[in-house]
Structure formats: structure tokens, C-alpha cells
Symmetry: C2
């Protein structure tokens, strides 16, 4: 399992426009083999560097790579996307826990 993290820059006041475009891409990718789940986050601060951050899990880097096909490119090459730059990357979890774990260590 790997985690795809994508940080989006969205000009103020254009959140709904971004969200609509993003949902089209997400629906396309969520149906692909190897997609596990996703959570899109919006910043509480409207002036945050990254207004939206998507965290999606895939079964493998290969599945993630294969999902970036012609249909995906057709979606993200729409000119509207040019106003919403993104910083995508593949990650692996290296440390996780909950408050319960911390309390149990006391």
C-alpha cells in the first residue's frame, strides 16, 4: 500500500470551481484497479499555501502509475486546470499511532 499526496494551490474565491474539476478526476481514478481510498482536505485558513490537500491510498506504485492513462490525461489537460497548480508525490507510511497508544505507554 502506498499513499499519494497532492497539494493544490487555489486562488481565493475559486474553491468551488476547483472542487468541481477535482471531483471529475477523483471519480475517474476511484474506479481504477488498485485504488483503495481517498480523503480531500480543505484548509481552515483561506490564505493557506495549499488550499486543498488530497491523501489517497493505492495498492501499489504500479497500479497508481497504470491509472494515469489517456482518460486521465484528457481530464487534467483541460485548460481550466492551469489555474490550480498541484504538487503531487508518492509516499509510504513510516510512523503511525493514536492517543490511545500514547496513553498505553504511560
Amino acid at each position: 500500500m502506498i499513499t499519494f499526496i497532492n497539494c493544490f494551490t487555489v486562488p481565493p474565491g475559486r474553491e468551488e470551481e476547483f472542487f468541481s474539476l477535482w471531483q471529475d478526476v477523483n471519480a475517474y481514478m476511484a474506479a481504477k484497479a488498485g485504488f483503495v481510498d481517498h480523503r480531500l482536505h480543505r484548509s481552515l485558513d483561506p490564505a493557506a499555501t495549499y488550499r486543498f490537500v488530497n491523501v489517497a491510498r493505492w495498492e501499489s506504485p504500479e497500479a497508481w502509475q497504470e491509472a494515469h492513462d489517456e482518460g486521465f490525461r484528457a481530464l487534467v489537460q483541460q485548460p481550466q486546470w492551469q489555474d490550480f497548480p498541484s504538487l503531487p508525490g508518492l509516499y509510504e507510511p513510516v510512523h503511525e499511532g493514536s492517543r490511545r497508544d500514547a496513553a498505553a505507554e504511560v
Copy 2:
């Protein structure tokens, strides 16, 4: 519930040093009231802009704010942290799902 996302810049070859410092801060915060859980991610690409990304959930923005006390500041004001700039922000989930959801829509 809110989500704290923190993106870290880490110079090549200094991952272990960062990870050790980060674990000290995380252990401190994970014991605080309102901390829910966390997952630290490391990029598969050593040259990624953000080598590590932490995604932590808290019960509320207030709990998160209150946890940033004198003990927290003492930890992050250590000079070693100056080589590891971070971009922190508070977020709320606005869209989530899994492949199963997508398949169910077909």
C-alpha cells in the same frame, strides 16, 4: 474533528536525524488532550519537495491550539530544527470515499 497537515523539507541524507527529532515532538503531542491519531509519510522519491508529510487528527482546533504550550516550544526551538523547515496547516475533510464506493455507483 480537524486534520493537521505538516509538510517537511529535509536535506538529502538527513532523514534519520529529522525522524528522531520529529518522534520527540510527536510523542509529546500524542499524549495531549484532543489528539486523535497521526500518520507520518516519507516520499518514495528522495528528491521530493516534501520528504516527509505528517497527517494528524485532533478533536478540535482549540485542542490543537492548547497543545502548543511551553513544552512544545522548548522542543521545536532546538537549533537542530532550523535545517528542517515545515509548512503546517489545519484542514477539514470535504470529500472521502473508497474504490468500493465507486464500484457501488456503477
